[in-house]
């Protein structure tokens, strides 16, 4: 089973909101000094599940990312986890690209790679929270898209049985391949890179493709980011008074009771 996994490098979400920094144009979230960017969590789940499918059915796992040159580090991590190959799409024209543009570029790269049975993506990125790129890939490649996937219950070379989350539960779906899955964090616990994997990844070459390598024209974006604003809440929590911790606990219960919440 040949699988292509799309990944995005993001600012580490395990930081306090007050550390969040924007670039000079207020259009990108930047990693604060000393905090290394990470692979988007849902994308790591997608990669982990792809590696498990490869362990069961054989084949190749190729990791694909659109980002700036620093994303090579995250692609090396994906290789260290066990991916067979990694490709970086990097071109200044994609600096502030919208979901449609990113999705179409990734789809063009997948076409260029050629052979695949399955495309796996994270359900959304933890920085932009847009959750659209996977669907633009699917539409461009005319693949059925299923998301958010919480489990792959059965897998055969030509079809999968997956659990897709819906409000209040999940659906069990039989999916004919080729298809695209949007993966949610319930699905697995991603592995850590091994020492040997890290050494091999260090030596691996990550080709970089630009817009002209993909044979597509730059599109006029339908959605344009005007600006980002860091939300500094003007109202802090109303603190409950009391002469002791126990008194404050009682006062909290009374307050919530007055609000009709307990």
């Amino acid at each position: 089973m040949d699988i292509i996994v799309t990944v995005k490098e993001v600012t580490d979400p395990n930081i306090p909101p007050s550390y969040v920094k924007l670039d000079a144009q207020a259009k990108r979230i930047e990693s604060p000094f000393g905090v290394a960017p990470v692979l988007n969590g849902y994308d790591e789940n997608a990669l982990e599940e792809a590696l498990r499918l490869r362990e069961r059915h054989g084949g190749r796992v190729t990791v694909l990312s659109l980002g700036d040159e620093s994303s090579r580090k995250s692609l090396k991590r994906a290789l260290a986890m066990g991916a067979d190959a990694a490709i970086l799409l990097s071109d200044p024209v994609w600096m502030y690209a919208d979901s449609a543009t990113v999705g179409r570029a990734l789809a063009a790269a997948i076409r260029k790679i050629g052979k695949f049975d399955l495309v796996m993506c994270g359900r959304q990125a933890s920085d932009t929270d847009a959750g659209q790129v996977l669907y633009w890939i699917a539409e461009t490649l005319k693949l059925p898209a299923v998301s958010p996937v919480a489990k792959i219950a059965e897998s055969a070379p030509t079809n999968l049985t997956v659990h897709r989350l819906i409000d209040g539960g999940h659906q069990r779906l039989r999916v004919q391949l080729p298809a695209l899955l949007g993966v949610s964090s319930e699905i697995n616990e991603p592995r850590h890179p091994t020492m040997r994997g890290t050494m091999n990844a260090g030596r691996a070459l990550v080709p970089g493709w630009k817009l002209h390598d993909l044979g597509i024209a730059p599109a006029v974006p339908k959605v344009e980011l005007r600006r980002l604003t860091v939300q500094t809440r003007t109202t802090k929590a109303q603190l409950i008074d009391g002469s002791s911790d126990a008194e404050r606990g009682i006062a909290l219960a009374d307050k919530l009771h007055d609000m009709g919440l307990v």
């Binding site: 969590g41 069990r172 005007r226 939300q231």
Partner: protein, 323 residues
């Protein structure tokens, strides 16, 4: 023809509560553009539209098809396309739900239309629809300009002021084009198994513990408070990573997003990772011994103190108030 189209679900004869919020947001755009407000409801069963539940609008399209009983992206995209085809709107609005976040982007991609999801504010600027949405777990807001003949947005529930129902629009029935054999087939639907008695994702009250709890041996404080409040139990990521509780309890980017009326965060510092999962909680209470913890910037109510003293007194008082 042009118009502002709002698209919702109809179950047991009633539109979802978000439909009135869509109508509120849609009416403001309709007034600004001079275009009519048009509704479309996707019927999930065979019940007729109830009396006096519809907001003021010029026309309502009712889309019925047995395929729409269970959620499937292909049939919902087909249903929306029927309403879009009948009304040719310039803007279409949807509520942001687990289902719409799957099928509305597919609709956008197939129509090559601009879409922004999970919006908390909308306005117009010339030919652009300006949509504001929280990104990065809600600690940053992004302002986007959407352009094109058709502009799409999903709206975060509970943010926009709902319209008042009580109007009888002209109702027109629409049918859905049969969907060609699909590569995705549903076997069945399974209701979520409740963890600890109450399903975290749908819980009205959630009590969550963080690293500040100090260890698995202290977790009974959280369980005790949850059981007194009839609440679901949650945790922040470090707690699950340390193995104090199962990872299914995790609230945040690496776990569940919750939408309770009351969320009580105990010993949780408030990383972006966690705040992303509680952005839709209505009232957030933080109990933390560190007065500088970031969680107090998100919380509505806070107690600075030792949870081992605060929680038992709180639980005892809640039980007195209940009896």
């Amino acid at each position: 023809m042009a118009g502002i189209l709002i698209v919702g679900d109809l179950a047991a004869g009633q539109p979802g509560s978000e439909f009135l919020e869509l109508a509120g947001a849609g009416a403001a755009l309709a007034q600004a553009t001079g275009e009519p407000l048009i509704g479309a409801l996707i019927a999930r069963d065979s019940a007729a539209v109830g009396e006096d539940c519809l907001p003021p609008m010029q026309r309502l399209y009712l889309i019925r098809d047995p395929e729409l009983r269970h959620y499937g992206a292909a049939s919902f995209v087909a249903a929306a396309r029927a309403a879009l085809g009948a009304s040719s709107p310039s803007i279409a609005l949807f509520a942001h739900t687990l289902e719409t976040r799957d099928w509305v982007p597919q609709l956008a991609a197939v129509l090559d239309a601009g879409l922004v999801m999970d919006c908390v504010a909308l306005s117009l600027d010339g030919d652009a629809l300006i949509a504001t949405k929280p990104v990065y777990g809600g600690s940053v807001w992004g302002e986007f300009a959407i352009r094109g003949a058709l502009r799409l947005a999903t709206l975060r529930p509970g943010v926009f002021t709902p319209a008042t129902p009580g109007n009888k629009p002209e109702v027109m029935q629409l049918t859905v084009e049969p969907i060609a054999a699909n590569a995705v087939n549903m076997i069945d639907e399974v209701a979520a198994a409740a963890s600890g008695g109450i399903n975290l994702k749908n819980a009205k009250v959630v009590v969550s513990g963080g690293r500040g709890i100090g260890g698995a041996k202290n977790w009974h404080y959280i369980e005790g408070a949850a059981s007194a409040l009839n609440a679901a139990v949650g945790c922040s990521r470090p707690v699950a990573d340390s193995g104090w509780v199962p990872s299914a309890y995790t609230v945040g980017l690496s776990g569940s997003s919750v939408t309770p009326d009351l969320y009580i965060a105990v010993g949780i510092s408030g990383a972006v990772q966690h705040l992303a999962g509680i952005s839709a909680a209505r009232t957030v209470v933080a109990i933390n011994s560190d007065a500088d913890a970031e969680i107090f910037a998100r919380a509505d109510l806070g107690v600075v103190g030792d949870y081992k003293e605060v929680l038992p007194a709180f639980v005892k008082r809640v039980e007195q108030l209940k009896s």
